[in-house]
């Protein structure tokens, strides 16, 4: 992980100052922002939602206790998620359910696009080129793309992913984190993180493709 994680922003430092001063509003802002994703991450390490909620609560306490020592060498959210992951891991260990993050989810390999969609490798003219290329979505109106039902399908597809792929795509694509931030929070190498993201996106695209396929296609 060669990249240096981003340092705390001015906004982060301001928020930390308010938290240190006992500003409840500041704390609740932070809770609104991170609690749902913290819960999702915690769920990967422990067995039940109830335990995950405890883990997240312990993490918030850890954040508060560490607040005076926060020097802004990483962004606030990276710091918070690192505390969370540490607590979730040790709680998971106590539950004897501890597994390295990279193995949360079967070790998948192989192509992310159905090989049948390509011409065979020994095709005389176009080896490995599309036999059944994707049908473009230009004709799909924006309203349909972002409609509740489409979003529900995407959410479903994400939920169906192995936990490690799910966590990475949630952080990267749903929440818009950078790859460096995700690597830092989840203790993943850049390469590993990208492989998980790649597999996750390919599956979600496939789900969307199935859903958006023109009526009567195939």
């Amino acid at each position: 992980m060669g990249d240096v994680p981003p340092r705390a922003s001015t906004e982060d430092l301001l928020l930390v100052r308010r938290l240190r001063a006992g500003d409840e509003q500041a704390f609740m802002e932070l809770v609104e922002r991170y609690q749902p994703s913290m819960l999702r991450i915690a769920r990967m390490y422990v067995s039940t939602r109830a335990v995950a909620e405890e883990v997240v609560q312990d993490a918030w306490l850890g954040v508060l206790r560490g607040l005076d020592g926060f020097e802004g060498r990483s962004s606030l959210r990276t710091w918070i998620f690192r505390i969370l992951v540490n607590i979730a891991k040790s709680r998971g260990a106590r539950e004897a359910r501890s597994v390295p993050f990279s193995s949360l989810g079967e070790d998948e390999s192989g192509p992310t696009v159905d090989p049948d969609r390509f011409r065979p490798d020994d095709d005389p003219r176009w080896p490995g080129h599309w036999a059944a290329p994707p049908a473009g979505w230009e004709g799909v109106p924006e309203e349909r793309l972002l409609a509740g039902e489409t979003l529900a399908r995407v959410d479903e597809a994400i939920e169906a992913l192995p936990p490690n792929q799910r966590a990475v795509i949630r952080l990267r694509d749903v929440l818009g984190w950078t790859s460096t931030e995700v690597c830092n929070a989840l203790d993943l190498s850049e390469t590993n993180q990208r492989v998980l993201l790649h597999r996750a996106r390919a599956k979600v695209r496939r789900a969307l493709e199935g859903y958006l396929a023109p009526e009567g296609a195939g």
Partner: protein, 89 residues
Amino acid sequence: MTTPGAMNCKSLVELVTEYLDGALPEPERARFEAHLAGCDGCTTYLDQIRTTIRVAGALSEEQIPPPAREALLDVYRRWAEETGRGLGG
């Protein structure tokens, strides 16, 4: 028509994430773009991955149930009290 060192569709689709992250080293990046320039199928595939990312970005996180908010506020209040912050103004 396949030139030596050229990329085919089957290998391009496995590189889209690296490409979009700006992590594809040369000369693969150049080969990737050269292939894309002449291939509608791969252009569509890449567009669809971009759209997938955009749609995922439109998902919202679930709301925090009020009892959980209350519990967390309590955690903060107890901490603030124990450490003598914001002494009630």
